[in-house]
């Protein structure tokens, strides 16, 4: 019983800590992720693959034009377009349960970087 209560307490605490971090989701990325270089850079094929993945995984919430739908924010904002690729990669990996952004950790790293490559082209 104590173990169950401790696990529940730990879960509530971790949610609370995660939710009290300041700033937008992109701004919450830890420095070690922000510094990560995008292995695809500005690769055209990777951006096209990222566009395909974006339409499949992200467009239902953020819109095909990335202008956002309902509570899902637009992605053609400076917070995203000027973000470090590593920060976007971190957001895709972790999501934000409290904000309704799912984790895309189930996608292979390469596919997450392809989505980042596409996002960095949005204007």
């Amino acid at each position: 019983m104590r173990l169950i209560l401790f696990t529940l307490w730990l879960a509530v605490l971790s949610f609370a800590i995660a939710d009290t971090r300041k700033g937008t989701l992109v701004q919450q990325a830890p420095p070690q992720y922000v510094q990560l270089p995008n292995p695809y850079g500005v690769n055209e094929a990777a951006a096209r693959a990222g566009s395909k993945l974006y339409l499949r995984e992200c467009a239902a919430c953020h819109g095909e034009d990335a202008h956002g739908i309902g509570k899902a924010p637009p992605l053609v904002i400076q917070d995203v377009t000027r973000a470090a690729p590593g920060a976007l990669f971190w957001v895709l990996r972790n999501g934000s349960l409290s904000r309704g952004m799912p984790s895309y950790a189930h996608l292979p790293e390469a596919q997450r970087w392809q989505i980042v490559t596409y996002l960095k082209r949005l204007r």
């Binding site: 696990t7 096209r48 239902a60 309902g70």
Partner: protein
């Protein structure tokens, strides 16, 4: 479908597993509809087809709920509805870690004729599958099942471990089981052009699952265990096909099980449904 104008489908992104759960939750508002079947030729019994229709909905990012409707048909006997299951999964940690726990609670109201075999626990054995439906359908099985789901993603690989504890709500001992799975997409990079048969759309894996006895008789003695390679194929239109031949490795296991499923995921079903009821669109 009447929601067609409002929703888009996504490739159902869950892995190739039938028994093993990962920590991947259904996206909030998404509805996943799945038909799962399992068939086997019984040693000394009749061939059967157990089916489970699954409706999975993402309520919150940390909470996924599912309803299963189970049925079965056995050669020479009637097809019958065998009951329902209601399961809930709760993600415990908000961020990704090297290992990610999920708590699972399920209520089952089934009869003894159920052959969907969505888990193997306790001393489940092939002999249970060979009994006539007329006899087993009278047996009520109201059970609470809990699982601790642990899983990790590492360099394209998915590794998941499930520990299962099941308890009949009437007087019966706890039954235990396990499931372990490993899988990987055949290609880690996506191709730039849309495609159906490219390697990125296929995932291959292996599941091992079985019973661990009961509370008074915990262990491997007289338990069933299966080794099952799995393959999943995701189409661009959001349909996922899965197939898995399973091989029993102990004397009490069924010799061979063939599992298959078709899954379709409707993105943002909740939003579309709300809009229909609110605006009459």
């Amino acid at each position: 479908m009447f929601l067609g104008p409002f929703v888009r489908c996504s490739s159902a992104a869950e892995g190739p597993f039938f028994i093993t759960y990962t920590h991947q939750m259904e996206e909030p508002g998404n509805l996943e509809i799945s038909f799962k079947g399992v068939t086997a030729g019984q040693d000394g019994g009749e061939r059967f087809l157990g089916v489970a229709d699954e409706f999975e909905y993402g309520i919150k990012g940390w909470w996924t709920t599912e309803v299963y409707l189970d049925g079965q048909t056995t050669t020479g006997e009637n097809a019958l509805f065998t009951g329902f299951r209601w399961e809930n999964r709760f993600r415990i940690l908000p961020r990704e870690h090297w290992i990610n726990p999920v708590a699972y609670v399920e209520f089952e109201d089934l009869n003894g004729a159920d052959k969907s075999l969505l888990e193997v626990v306790g001393h489940d054995a092939k002999a249970d599958l060979g009994e006539p439906n007329g006899l087993t359908r009278r047996e009520k099985q109201r059970e609470i099942e809990t699982k601790l789901i642990l899983s990790s993603y590492f360099k394209g690989w998915t590794l998941a471990e499930n520990l299962i504890a099941e308890k009949n709500v009437s007087h019966a001992p706890y039954e235990f089981g396990y499931a372990v799975g490993i899988s990987r997409p055949l290609a880690l990079e996506a191709r730039p052009e849309p495609c159906s048969l490219c390697r990125e759309n296929f995932q291959a894996g292996l599941e091992v699952y079985g019973g661990l006895g009961t509370q008074p008789h915990f262990g491997l003695f007289q338990t069933s265990h299966y080794v099952a390679p799995t393959l999943a194929w995701a189409l661009a239109n959001g349909t996922l096909f899965r197939i898995s031949p399973g091989f029993g490795v102990t004397a009490t296991s069924a010799r061979f099980l063939l599992r298959f499923s078709v899954t379709y995921e409707i993105q943002q079903f909740g939003r579309a449904a709300r809009r229909i009821f609110r605006d009459g669109q």
